[in-house]
Every structure is written in structure tokens, then in C-alpha cells.
Amino acid sequence: MKSVVELHSISMKYQSLNGEINALENINFSVYDGEFVCIVGPSGCGKSTLLSIMSGLLAPTSGYILLNGERITGTSKKIGYMLQKDHLFEWRTILQNVLLGLEIQRSITPQAKERAEELLRTYGLIEFRDKYPNQLSGGMRQRAALIRTLMTDPEILLLDEAFSALDYQTRLAVSDDIYAIIKKEGKTAILVTHDIAEAISMANRVIILSKRPGTIKNIYEINLSCPERTPLNSREAPEFRHYFQSIWKELDIHV
């Protein structure tokens, strides 16, 4: 299989007046085309830092990342990033929000607008194109945020706790929804989460990070015997709770 992203001995140290914080140490892994990878770890293990480095927003202290064989040196159109909250701009209509990325990259064309409308139509938001974000439900907002990310046609999607701002029921429905869209668009995705069940339900592989300094503790291949792999179906699979148990033990969380 072709690897889309390769991380080569990524380390990250934050400098502060109180000294140095060793956030990540020697992280190596690859993500293959069409794969869905989840990264879980205890809070403060540097999960989000890792995503920021992959997005090109943050330069690692050492190591490098290859995206389709090319080194990442800054933000790139090839990388889509979804944040915890949808961050739709209240002063823009849904269509204007969805076009934000292209507007910033100065590449709004009539074709791009058509594609935006097409995506909005496919994912059931077309009648909201001229509405403002506060007129949409939490799930619809997250879908609009995903379309905004998809509009720049990224090769890989980074999702930073993308569902954790939603309430539990909405979260289950939205992760099912977003998963289906990502699969339909054939995107490779990396999701950072602290929710073990969410990770198992969506991922082909789950990468477990240790406490700070974050290192890779283990990587689980998730093989579930369920008829059609969707996040909700996955939770029904008999292997689900075994994975849950082992990952839970691996995380070694104490209060």
C-alpha cells in the first residue's frame, strides 16, 4: 500500500521561562492511502501538538514529515484540518463559510462555487446555503465545517477532537455522518481523540501515545467482524470490547 504520510523521528520541545517541556519524543509512523488512523493518549500527551506539526502550523524540534514523498515545511492545501469546534464564522452565510479556504487561497472560480453547491446538496445542506450558522444544528454545523475542509481538496484530513464539543448522542450521530462523508470522498484521515470507544469505532489502526513526553506505546490494528463498517455498527462487533479493554489497560489512567 502507498503511504500518504510518513513521520520520521518527530520530537518536540516547548521552550518556556520555567524551562523546557518535552512534549513528543521520537515519533515514527506511516499512514496509508484511504486509511483511518486514530491517535489516543492521556490528556497532555502531545496529541494535538502532533497534529499541529503534521498540519505544518508548528515546526518540530527535530525530525521531518513526508507527504507523498515531499517534506512538509508549512501549511499546505494538501492537508485539511478540522478543529474541535466547527468555528463557522457567525457573520458569514453557510456558502460563504464553506468557501473560506478558497477565498483565502484566492482561488474562487465559478467551478469552485458549483462544487461547493454540489457538496452542500449531496450532504443535505443546500437549503441552508444562505442561512447563518446559528440557524443550524450542531450536527449540521460540523458537516458544514467538513465541507469547508473538503473544498480545498486535501489529500489527508486531520481531525483534532473533532466531535468532543458535541453532546453524547449528537456525537455518535455526527461521527457516523462524518465517517461516511470521509469514506465517500475517499480521503485519508487522522483523528486525535481521548475517547477510546470513538477511536476503535472509526479507526483501521489506533496509535497509543504515552504520557509526556509522548512516545508511541503501541499500535493496534482494528479488525472487527461486522457486516458493514460504520462507527455505530462497529460498537456492536464482538471484538469491540476486547480492544477497549486492552487499550484502556495500555493507557494506564489513574485518578
Binding site: G74, T75, I79, E90, W91, L100, Q105
Partner: protein, 283 residues
């Protein structure tokens, strides 16, 4: 702004059939609004009526307190002399210029300070001192430097409103959710795009707030300026009236001033609602 009646009016005029309970609720709310308005009006009328009656019955000395009828007479005589609108015009013009300049320069300065973190750290103690300094103390300095005239008055207005505007707008910029900025950066946006796509629209409520504060401060600046320079305008009429003990003139000017300031404030409120109504329905 406290403007609770517009959605209620909308609800009242809604054509769809509403339940009797809802209709009763709306009637109750409408009644309360009317009662508030009525009481407000009553207080105003009562105050002026008592003022007039007490002055007529010589309970208070109208030479010192003036009285509503004498205020009207003064306005008429100023109008007949052809100077009423001249004085109002000069003061309003100075205020509007000071207000617009203060807002524009303040927003620009806030942008500059946001742009350069180094500059903003350097400027911080100066802004704190300038903010706490009573700017009126600088009045005589401006007059000596610039000369007694409208320009000195406008500079006085600027001195009073500028720092507050800078701080308010900068505060708005800094309180914008960092994740929103990150979003623009992820798409490869530069600093100018962060400013135009996120900061300015997101801190629009702060800018409007600064405008509202500035309306009041601009009037203070202009009146103080006119007190010091004293050639024309409402501030001049107040000082002159005080010096020659014509309290009718003083009171008349104060009444006109209050009316003009209220109109200008409402103008900003209208602007706010107009722009908000256009771009951010229900925001």
C-alpha cells in the same frame, strides 16, 4: 441596547394563528412596554411642569434656576438673532469630526498595536499612563500649541476619546478565539487576511461599543474645548451665560446639548442595528 420591543412587535404582527395563551402573553408583554414608555414620558413632563410651576410660584428663583417657558423664549430669541443654528452647528460639527477621527485613528492604532507585538509591549505603560491621565489637563497645552480655534477643540476631543477607543478595539482583537485565527492560518492565510477575515468582523461588537462610548466622550471633549476657547458653540454659550449670570442661556444650551447628544447616540444604535441586521441576522 435594550430594545426588547422589536421581536415582540414582530411576534404580535405575525399572521399565523396563535393560541389564546400566547396572545394573552404577548398582550401582557406589550402592556408592560407601554407602561414603561408612559412612565418615562410622565417623569419628563412632570419634571418640566414642576420646574415651571415652582418658578412661577417663586418657590425657586427663576433668575437662578431658569424655567421651561424662559428656555423656549431664549431659543426663539437666539433663532431671531440668527445665531441658534450657528452655535448648534459648530458644536455638532466639531463633535462629529472629533468622533469620526477618534474612531478611525483609534481603530488604526489598535490594528498597528496588534500587528506588532513588540510595539504593543513597548507602548503598554504609555497607554496606561495616558489612559489614567485626565486629558482635560492638556487643554491649555493644545490651545498654546495649536491656537484658540476649532482645531484645538477637535484635538481636545481626540485626546479624550482616542486612548479608550484603542484599548477597547485592541481588547476586542485579543479576545477573538485563537482557534478561529488558526483556521485561517491552516488555509494558508497571511496576517492581513487574519485581520480582515476574522479580527475585524469578529470584533465588530467591540468597535460599536467603542463608538457608543466615544459619542459621549466626544461631547465632553468638545464642550471642554469650547469652555477653554470660547468663541462660538453651545459650550461657549454655557460659559458666557454663566459669566454674565444669564442662567436662561445656560439652561437652554444644556437642553439643546442633551437633545443633540441623544440624537447622535441613537444614530450609532441605528447604525449598529442596520449593519447587524444586514450581515449577522440574529447574531
Amino acid at each position: 441596547m435594550s430594545e426588547p420591543n422589536s421581536p415582540i412587535l414582530k411576534a404580535l404582527t405575525r399572521e399565523t394563528s396563535i393560541s389564546p395563551e400566547h396572545a394573552a402573553f404577548l398582550r401582557k408583554v406589550k402592556k408592560k412596554i407601554m407602561m414603561v414608555r408612559l412612565t418615562q414620558l410622565t417623569i419628563l413632563v412632570l419634571a418640566f411642569a414642576l420646574w415651571e410651576i415652582f418658578a412661577r410660584l417663586k418657590i425657586v428663583d427663576p433668575f437662578i434656576t431658569s424655567q421651561p417657558t424662559r428656555i423656549i423664549q431664549t431659543m426663539v430669541s437666539l433663532y431671531r438673532e440668527g445665531v441658534l443654528f450657528q452655535h448648534i452647528g459648530i458644536t455638532c460639527l466639531e463633535t462629529v469630526i472629533g468622533f469620526l477621527l477618534g474612531t478611525a485613528l483609534g481603530v488604526m492604532a489598535a490594528i498597528t498595536l496588534w500587528w506588532s507585538n513588540f510595539l504593543s509591549e513597548v507602548m503598554e505603560p504609555y497607554l496606561v499612563i495616558l489612559n489614567s491621565l485626565p486629558k482635560i489637563a492638556l487643554g491649555p497645552v493644545f490651545i498654546v500649541w495649536i491656537g484658540a480655534g476649532p482645531v484645538a477643540i477637535i484635538v481636545m476631543t481626540l485626546a479624550i476619546s482616542l486612548i479608550v477607543t484603542i484599548l477597547e478595539v485592541l481588547n476586542g482583537f485579543l479576545s477573538v478565539d485563537y482557534e478561529k485565527i488558526k483556521l485561517v492560518q491552516i488555509f494558508g492565510g497571511n496576517k492581513l487576511q487574519i485581520l480582515t477575515k476574522v479580527l475585524l468582523p469578529a470584533s465588530f461588537p467591540n468597535i460599536i461599543n467603542a463608538l457608543k462610548v466615544n459619542v459621549g466622550l466626544s461631547w465632553v471633549g468638545v464642550i471642554v474645548g469650547e469652555f477653554l476657547v470660547s468663541k462660538a458653540g453651545l459650550g461657549y454659550l454655557i460659559v458666557y451665560g454663566g459669566q454674565v449670570f444669564k442662567l436662561d442661556l445656560v439652561m437652554t444650551s444644556v437642553v439643546i446639548l442633551g437633545t443633540a447628544a441623544a440624537i447622535m447616540y441613537q444614530g450609532v444604535v441605528y447604525l449598529e442595528r442596520h449593519i447587524l441586521g444586514k450581515n449577522q441576522r440574529g447574531f
